[in-house]
């Protein structure tokens, strides 16, 4: 009960005028970043991160949650209108949205995507609120060796989700951990890997790694794309006219989709979101496949099915609530965006791990409310206010946009740390990541390594220290539970991937 009361107190915070405005602003920023192909909500939060130093914790959390919810939804706009998903989580939406667009029903498709996203997002947050008291109890059971096993579970799960690319993912986790080992030792006041350089003594800041890995490398990746090609794509948007009244879904449409499809997809999204590293793309894919399997009209899927759009969009927005479960209960991010959100929490001195929920729930409670408010805001903002103008964002001059983003990113590395060395580190990580991402090395794993690496090291060494270097300390029930979970997860995921490969 205490947990629920603490969570509810967050609603009072979010409804304070300044926090509400900041949530709204975050929502709009998230929309803009997700609609423009190439940019994502993650990049938006990364750029915002250095600025959060000057905001109160509540303002920072409200803005980040607004960006997160809008970012999960708005990628559907370009997926529907020009068949280019603004975010990976919207790939499935385009399969049915674009055929509808070609038949002159793009507004209807966007309307349904908005409604399904809002409903999925709200269900995800409500489930998160319901699950939280259980998660708090679970978090209290985890002792130091269990915490080490938990981080290991997260690392291995994320690598397993990469399928054949698991070795690259694991190598990147290790490189991320290496970044975090530069500087002062964790337990003893000795320097590590500094080569006597004063700048290296301060270590490579997590924010510098995030800015380099997500923002600078993304800008460099975008430079590979010819502006002429992009202009051709955005020119297609010029003739698209969307009327406000066409957005509103009809009763008959809702009947065709069915409440069950929304509910089932939202549940799928929530539970997939709760798996470390799974994310919106996987959730929308599974919900879409399940929707098709259970549909009375599976033949419509891929050919303009409103149910297909509803399934994909409810699932990817329900991920927002699901991904918060491992993040808040155990400090393990559910996807790339929550990894960066966790970084924002670190800016405010909130240490990732089970302590977030057990000791600091009061501080993070506005996140629940801001996420729910953002989901609810989606309907009036998208269907009644900004909807017809969304698609115009695609026509923003990308040269101006990416120049501004680059300057904000590199300046952000300085703003967050007041260190020129961190700017160099950020640019260096960005350049390295540019090459690695082209070879399909996943950026998220690098960030997780950099973020969770010091925690793993701390828990692991502390466990050894309290047990007199006896590895049997990891056979305690809480630790064993996570180790067993790791084995089970890897086994079933491997089986599922083999099955997936053979059906292809």
């Amino acid at each position: 009960m205490d947990t629920l009361i603490q969570i509810m107190s967050g609603f009072g915070v979010v409804f304070q005028p300044i926090n509400f405005l900041v949530t709204l602003l975050g929502f709009i920023i998230g929309l803009v970043f997700a609609i423009i192909p190439g940019l994502t909500a993650t990049v938006a939060i990364v750029l915002l991160m250095p600025m959060t130093y000057s905001m109160t914790l509540n303002m920072g959390l409200c803005m980040v949650m607004g960006i997160y919810m809008a970012g999960m939804y708005a990628g559907s706009v370009t997926a529907i209108t020009i068949n280019i998903p603004g975010a990976p989580s919207s790939s499935m939406t385009g399969k049915d949205g674009y055929p509808l667009m070609q038949r002159g029903m793009g507004a209807k498709a966007i309307g349904h995507a908005s409604f399904a996203s809002a409903l999925g997002g709200a269900i995800g947050v409500l489930l998160l609120i319901l699950v939280s008291p259980i998660a708090v109890k679970a978090a209290l059971l985890v002792k130091t060796p269990g915490k080490a096993s938990l981080v290991l579970f997260a690392f291995i799960t994320i690598c397993a989700l990469e399928g054949k690319g698991w070795k690259k993912a694991m190598l990147f986790i290790i490189l991320g951990m290496i970044f975090s080992t530069v500087g002062m030792g964790l337990f003893n006041p000795t320097s590590r890997f500094t080569f006597g350089t004063v700048s290296l003594m301060e270590g490579i800041d997590f924010i510098s790694v995030v800015i380099g890995a997500f923002a600078i490398s993304e800008v460099l990746m975008q430079s590979d794309l010819s502006n002429k090609e992009y202009q051709e794509v955005s020119a297609a948007v010029k003739d698209i006219k969307i009327k406000r009244r066409d957005f509103i879904p009809t009763k008959a449409d809702f009947k065709e989709i069915g409440l069950l499809a929304y509910m089932k997809s939202s549940l799928i999204g929530f539970f997939i979101g709760a798996l470390p590293g799974a994310g919106g793309a996987l959730a929308s894919f599974v919900a879409y496949a399940e929707g098709k399997r259970g549909s009375k009209h599976p033949e419509k899927y891929g050919n303009g099915s409103l149910q297909g759009i509803a399934c994909a969009e409810s699932a990817n927005n329900a991920v927002c609530g699901g991904a918060m479960v491992p993040m808040l209960a155990f400090g393990i991010p559910g996807d790339g965006v929550t990894a960066v959100v966790l970084g924002v929490l670190m800016v405010y001195g909130i240490v990732p791990g089970p302590d977030i929920m057990t000791r600091q729930l009061q501080l993070v409670s506005p996140m629940y409310a801001a996420l729910l408010v953002s989901a609810v805001l989606m309907i009036p903002l998208s269907l009644m206010l900004f909807g017809p103008y969304y698609i115009k964002l695609v026509r923003i001059n990308r040269i101006v946009l990416y120049s501004a983003i680059s300057l904000i990113a590199i300046t952000g590395a300085y703003a967050a740390t007041s260190s020129v060395f961190q700017m160099i580190a950020s640019a260096g990580v960005g350049v390295i990541m540019y090459f690695m991402r082209k070879e399909k090395y996943p950026a998220v794993t690098l960030i997780l390594g950099a973020m969770l690496g010091p925690l793993f090291e701390g828990y692991f060494r502390r466990s050894l220290s309290i047990s007199g270097n006896n590895m049997a300390v990891f056979l305690q029930p809480d630790s064993m539970a996570f180790l067993l979970l790791t084995v089970i997860f890897v086994f079933f995921l491997g089986k599922a991937q083999k099955k997936g490969a053979s059906t292809k």
Binding site: L171, R192, N227, A404, A415, M423, E439, L464
Partner: protein, 152 residues
């Protein structure tokens, strides 16, 4: 021997990572024993373990890369274009200029060069100069005035 097979990006990237990790492992080992006399783990304990795992992974990724068929012209294909090299350099130029002439000058030069070379061709120079000034002003206001960041 087919040299192209070894110069492939899928082999070269893990190879470079392995060299880096070997160096990291060497430095880690030079920091002393993994366990102190008190029995506690030393500060190089985790670095040495992760370096060893990393090296094994690099070798495995290299072997996978060697097994993959080399696409025709893969080794001669451009790894990186001039545009990207200039953009990389632009980031480091900004950092250098920032120390020399401060934020506003460095940001203006950075943004202008970025806009110039991010484009497919060098065109509309005056327009880009004006937009660079606007972006610089916007970012300065954002950080210095709104968020109170103090630039040197």
């Amino acid at each position: 021997m087919d040299i192209q097979r070894f110069l492939h990006k899928k082999v070269m990237i893990p190879f470079v990572c392995m060299i880096f990790l070997l160096g990291y492992l060497g430095v880690g080992l030079s920091m002393g024993p993994l366990f102190l006399e008190s029995g506690l783990s030393n500060e190089n304990f985790i670095p040495v373990i992760i370096a060893v795992i990393g090296i094994a992974l690099c070798i495995s990724i290299m072997i996978d890369g060697l097994k993959e068929p080399v696409e025709a012209g893969a080794s001669s294909s451009k790894v990186i274009g001039l545009k990207q090299v200039i953009l990389f350099a632009d980031f480091f130029l900004f950092i250098g200029l920032y120390k020399l002439i401060g934020f506003i000058g460095a940001a203006f030069v950075f943004t202008f060069l970025f806009m110039l070379f991010f484009d497919d061709k060098i065109t509309a120079v005056v327009k880009k100069l004006i937009i660079s000034a606007i972006i610089t002003g916007f970012v300065y206001i954002l950080y210095a005035l709104i968020f109170g960041v103090r630039f040197n």
